[in-house]
Subunit: 189 residues, 2 copies
């Protein structure tokens, strides 16, 4: 097999699918994004990157807070729908059962498997249209059904997986190995 040059692109596989919540003028709004990651563990800090034109960004800037909600695969239609229409066009405040936590202004989705309310610690402009919000997780929420031995269980969460380029959602397969463990089988050729 020969390696070929391909067009420079954002070929990270897999990407998560998360719903970001923010209040705009006191009203909940949500957007679906795949550009979300972890940047720090102590304290827990997450990053999202979103086009500056998004309606949700206005609320994040206004309140310096946002929520990240992890939908299970059974929420696929609602998740995709929220990503199709802007809050500038439609009122998304009633699409989900919304609840608030410690921050009081980061709307969370009861139907989602996991919720994290985040306080903005830093905002970075990419200079090319997107802004990166780095948020510290102030409080997190989940239902018991997603937990096994006090740990959130990905096989119960059944997260949506996003494929860049193909613009499609995929589900999770099976556990294939333990981290910091299966590597012991590796023999350097």
């Amino acid at each position: 097999m020969i390696k070929s040059k391909i067009k420079p692109g954002t070929y990270i596989f897999p990407l998560p699918v998360v719903i970001v919540g923010a209040n705009i003028e006191g009203k909940a709004n949500f957007m679906t994004i795949a550009w979300c990651s972890v940047v720090e563990n102590k304290p827990p800090m997450l990053s999202i990157s979103a086009s500056k034109g998004h309606y949700t960004n206005i609320g994040i800037r206004e309140n310096q807070s946002f929520s990240i909600n992890i939908p299970s695969e059974d929420l696929i239609e609602a998740t995709d729908f929220v990503g199709m229409k802007s809050g500038k066009e439609i009122d998304k405040s009633k699409f989900f059962q919304v609840f608030y936590g410690e921050l009081k202004n980061a709307p969370m989705i009861k139907e989602a498997a996991i919720n994290m309310e985040c306080k903005v610690m830093n905002t970075i402009d990419t200079g090319k249209g997107h802004e990166i919000f780095i948020g510290q997780v102030v409080q997190a929420y989940a239902e018991e059904e997603y937990i096994t031995n006090d740990i959130l269980d990905i096989s119960k969460i059944k997260p949506l997986i996003y494929a860049t380029g193909q613009k499609s959602y995929w589900n999770l397969g099976n556990k294939i190995g333990k981290a910091w463990s299966i590597g012991r089988n590796y023999k350097k050729k």
Copy 2:
């Protein structure tokens, strides 16, 4: 079902598993991380976050460049192994077939499905031990076998999926929907 407060944490599901490459004093080194995302599309820009103590970070700072390599599931043992041992302890320069591209100093892994060489555009200190490198993808590489109709095909790439907390690797399941499309079936309750 009742939502319960859980310990604030970094509950993003799924996370990708990528191998980051950098040269340290002219020698290739690699580390495996799950904290990697997309932050911009035009031009393509990616982010990684890694503890400042990592050996690879030294090389990224030195050359202002790094590579991101996407391993397929058949590379699971080597991928995990590279994440277990620091370049401070062992020489990882010969673990993979290494090649260089436009930047000349961002080592890439021939055995990985996809490679992206990145030029550092911004470095952000989280203030708590990690640093975020934002890199622009200068050039990308893939073998024909991972492409369908000119698009990288996640079902052929078979990426590793990381589960935080459970510290385990999972594989991909099936395609369950088209983005910006399946949402049309959603009827607001």
